[in-house]
């Protein structure tokens, strides 16, 4: 064992040990106080801001649009190489056992003599870690990226390596400590008003920036600036029957597109996606349309959809446009997009998100009418029955479902319970085979409650296996059904790694899902959105499982479903049509 170098206050190692302590403590109050004490111990505001970024955003601020962009597989292969083990033979079974690539790497780095000998921990500082991420981002050649990654690992302890990888993934650190708690920690560390920190987070879209304002006692200066995205308001799923005083809501159809925030002033237009990244270049026709309007400063919340021959086309078609920075003329004419507005957040140098929805709507209606902007149609509702009726209409129009929004609600970022509600219905179902069972969490601890489901490829020459995974489900069954499954999997166990069981095909589940999407990174080439149990088909055997061809057929059927013409203005009001006539 190597002795650990003298780690100082602002070292990344110390940050990692705090993060680990947060992971190992229960309750948001305890977690927040651990982090608050850590923040208070840091001397420089740069370090405080970095700590907030690393724990809550990632290697780069979410609003920077930057990513270290190293794939999961590259990292895993690189780690296997560093540890001098075979990726397929050794690394993969280890990852299957832990269920986490970064945790596997941490353990292998700790345990394997070939790995420990290459590591001389240097006690890198938070700022040195930031510069490591910048270097990794600036290099585009994969081999160089890998070499650099390995060089950084050579200067770290295993726990630093684990969190370095998780932070680089720009996702959650999986320590049960999310934005809301980080904001609480920040406000308690700097004696700042929690609501003000929250507001600063919404305005800046960044925990790091909110932290800097809090430290420097400048939260009052947190002001909206045009062309800097605001955090989005999100909706909670529900059933019409579960909604209290339904007449307090208005309904809109839920478009099957991409959420977008549009900032415009005169001839300048910028578009931001839900993760607050700029996507302006991907949708030039929307930009030129809005540029031509010469709008006074404005921010609109809305949806980008593929719109052709007066019809809203499915999300799968929009996927062809997403992430394409310079779309070709062919792509533009094959998949033309429009922006459909449904909210206004800023208008003529005033933020409007503190106004109630019905007042924002009057304003939005006026703006859209004046400039020929498409706007969602709003419908008054009286009863749950009526919601069901409107829902069916929405599907006929080619949309996903309904949005119900409370008329007197302000626009608040994140998920505010039951202020915005989404109502959706399953997109279809497949008969699948249980391939793996995973031990459940929380109140389901001790039973196997999460399942990886597979479809058949036994007659498909492209695959050597009988079944391949199509999705992971952890709900939709009753307690009794779960008990029955747990009994039935026992004789099917082939392999067991603590919480994960690998099973012989035997149990068939009718799996319900919201949608099918193409995903080239998976074995099947498709992923299901929100897969869940519909029924356990004890009457069927693995031979009855649906095949990859069935998935393909369902995908095509959803893609080619009939959609109503929007001339009648079913889902949206097109204030632009008059001009065209």
């Amino acid at each position: 064992m190597k002795s650990e170098p003298n780690y100082n206050i602002s070292s990344f190692y110390r940050f990692c040990t705090i993060v680990q302590q947060i992971a190992e403590s229960r309750g948001s109050i305890k977690k927040a106080s651990l982090f608050a004490n850590y923040l208070k111990s840091l001397q420089e505001s740069t370090d405080i801001a970095l700590a907030c970024r690393f724990i809550g955003e990632g290697a780069f601020s979410t609003v920077s649009g930057k990513k270290a962009s190293i794939g999961h597989r590259t990292i895993a292969v690189c780690a296997a190489q560093f540890c001098e083990i075979d990726y397929d033979l050794v690394f993969k079974p280890c990852r299957t056992a832990t269920g986490s690539s970064s945790e596997t790497i941490e353990k292998l780095m700790e345990n394997l003599p070939d790995a420990t000998i290459k590591r001389t921990p240097k006690g890198l500082s938070l700022q040195e870690i930031e510069s490591a991420f910048i270097q990794l981002e600036s290099i585009s050649k994969r081999t160089e990226k890998e070499a650099l990654l390995q060089a950084f690992w050579g200067m770290m302890t295993p726990i630093e390596i684990k969190y370095f990888i998780r932070i680089m993934g720009q996702g959650s650190l999986r320590i049960g400590f999310e934005a809301r708690s980080i904001i609480n920690a920040l406000s308690s560390a700097f004696d700042a008003d929690t609501e003000k920190v929250r507001y600063a987070h919404m305005i800046t879209g960044s925990l790091e920036k909110a932290a800097l304002l809090a430290i420097e006692n400048r939260l009052n200066e947190a002001r909206f600036r045009l062309f800097h995205p605001l955090a989005f308001m999100l909706a909670t799923p529900s059933e019409p029957e579960d909604i209290e005083s339904i007449q307090d809501y208005i309904a809109e159809e839920k478009f099957d597109g991409m959420r977008c925030q549009l900032h415009a002033e005169g001839k300048k237009v910028k578009l931001f996606s839900r993760d607050l990244n700029e996507v302006t270049d991907a949708f030039p026709e929307i930009c030129s349309h809005f540029e031509s309007m010469h709008l006074a400063p404005i921010v609109l919340d809305g949806e980008i959809c593929v719109f052709k021959e007066n019809t809203i086309l499915p999300f799968q078609q929009l996927q062809k446009r997403m992430g394409v920075k310079k779309p070709t003329p062919k792509l533009l004419s094959d998949y033309p997009v429009v922006f459909i507005a449904y909210d206004v957040l800023y208008h003529e140098n005033e933020t409007t998100f503190d106004l109630p929805l019905n007042e924002r709507r009057i304003l939005l209606d006026r703006i859209c009418l004046g400039h020929g902007i498409k706007i969602s149609r709003q419908m008054e509702i009286q009863s749950a029955d009526q919601v069901h009726q409107l829902f069916d209409e929405a599907l006929l129009n080619g949309n996903e479902g309904l949005m119900l929004k409370k008329k007197d609600s302000t626009y608040e970022y994140g998920q505010r319970k039951k202020t915005w509600i989404k109502i959706k219905k399953p997109g279809g179902s497949l008969d699948t085979v249980i391939m793996y069972a995973h031990a459940g969490s929380g109140k389901r601890g001790g039973t196997y409650s999460d399942f990886t489901l597979g479809i058949s490829v036994k007659d498909n020459p492209k695959y050597s296996e009988q079944f391949i995974p199509i999705g992971k489900a952890y709900g939709g069954y009753t307690d009794d059904e779960l008990k029955k499954i747990n009994k039935a999997i026992k004789p099917l166990v082939v392999e067991r790694f603590g919480p994960t069981l690998s099973l012989k095909p035997g149990i068939i589940v009718e799996l319900e899902f919201d949608d099918i999407q193409i995903n080239k990174r998976t074995k099947a080439g498709y992923t299901l959105r929100l897969p869940r149990f519909k029924a356990i088909r004890w009457d069927l055997s693995p031979n009855d499982a649906d095949t990859l061809e069935d998935v393909e057929r369902l995908y095509q059927a959803r893609l080619n479903r009939k959609r109503r013409d929007q001339k009648a203005g079913n889902s949206l009001i097109d204030y632009g049509i008059k001009d065209l006539d």
Binding site: E24, C94, A97, G99, T104, K107, L108, F497
Partner: protein, 329 residues
């Protein structure tokens, strides 16, 4: 090659030698039981078996009614076709590896084993050379490497003291034969009162009888468990009223599987303490290198492939024996 048959759901029979290893039924005349965990005990509770004196006592508590011939460690038993000696396995009290000398060569069957041995066992000892090595591999991946007992025991003591200082009852979830007694042995210097769930107490009495210090312990008592005591109970009680009735508590899961971080959220415990009574991956490879077997047979494992791969790289031949794995942790 070794001539063997797999019997029942966990036993092995060596037909030429008329010997059964953790097997049940009439396939062999001489049946040896490695230790008293349920997945190694014969299904037939009325047959004749050989076992160590400690295993014999523990088997009786667990309901074995048959005839047991006790055999001490190092004591050679001469049978018509082979000589058999038991070696301390370091897994739980009484656990033995079974060494068999015959015309077939020297066979060593490990049962479950642990080296460095658990401090509440008779230690660990193995023959210098073995021709056929039948080994368990419950933890067969390089992500499993155990810390020294003293470090883990310190973690256990710290967890108990910190919990009590917070006014909470420390609860250790661990298997009631072997793991429970290790945790109690670790806690013994603190002189706290340890309450142990129902069936566990009788097993602890056997440990005490054999001279191991388990500290002050008593059976679980609903009325007093929260009076500055420590509770030791199997994981199956996690959602039982016994646990939910404790007003303020801190929960620790003590197992080799605690090496998986996901267990914390899955079980909803405060602390994962990685303590296993099985051999870890690295010690397993090391012992195979040391005893230079002609063939390693890998049993009781979720996946033998990685062990086989590492052994192959060291020039040691190995094959899996497909016994079902019923891990007791």
């Amino acid at each position: 090659m070794l001539d063997y048959q797999l019997k029942g759901y966990h036993g092995i029979v060596l037909p030429k030698l008329d010997i059964g290893l953790d097997s049940s039924g009439p396939d062999a005349e001489h049946i040896f039981i490695s230790h008293a965990h349920a997945d190694h005990l014969p299904r037939d509770r009325n047959m004749h078996v050989y076992a160590t004196p400690a295993t014999s006592k523990l088997m009786r508590i667990r309901g074995f009614k048959g005839d047991i011939t006790t055999l001490n460690f190092g004591q050679k038993l001469t049978l018509p076709h082979a000589d058999v000696s038991l070696y301390p396995a370091g897994h739980i009290l009484g656990s033995a590896m079974i060494g068999i000398q015959s015309d077939e060569g020297h066979i060593l069957y490990t049962g479950d084993y642990r080296t460095p041995p658990s401090p509440v066992t008779e230690g660990f000892l193995h023959p210098d050379r073995v021709d056929y090595f039948i080994t368990e591999a419950t933890f067969p991946l390089p992500i499993y490497k155990w810390k020294p007992h003293e470090i883990i025991f310190e973690e256990i003591r710290t967890f108990a003291l910190e919990s009590l200082n917070e006014g909470a009852t420390p609860v250790f979830f661990c298997y009631n034969l072997g793991k429970a007694q290790e945790v109690m042995h670790a806690l013994a210097p603190l002189k706290l009162t340890i309450q142990i769930h129902g069936a566990g107490k009788q097993l602890c009495d056997v440990y005490t009888e054999f001279g191991y210090n388990l500290g002050n312990y008593e059976a679980y008592n609903k009325a007093t468990v929260q009076d500055h005591n420590v509770l030791i109970t199997p994981l199956s009680s996690l959602e039982q009223p016994m646990i939910s009735n404790i007003r303020k508590k801190r929960l620790a899961y003590v197992s080799g599987w605690a090496a998986h971080e996901s267990r914390r959220v899955q079980l909803g415990v405060d602390k994962l303490i990685v303590l296993s009574d099985h051999i870890d991956f690295f010690e397993l490879i090391k012992i195979c290198e040391k005893i230079e077997p002609k063939m390693v047979y890998i049993t009781h494992t979720p996946n033998p492939k990685v062990v086989q791969h590492f052994l192959h790289e060291k020039g040691i031949a190995s094959v899996p024996l497909n016994l079902e794995s019923h891990d007791e942790e």
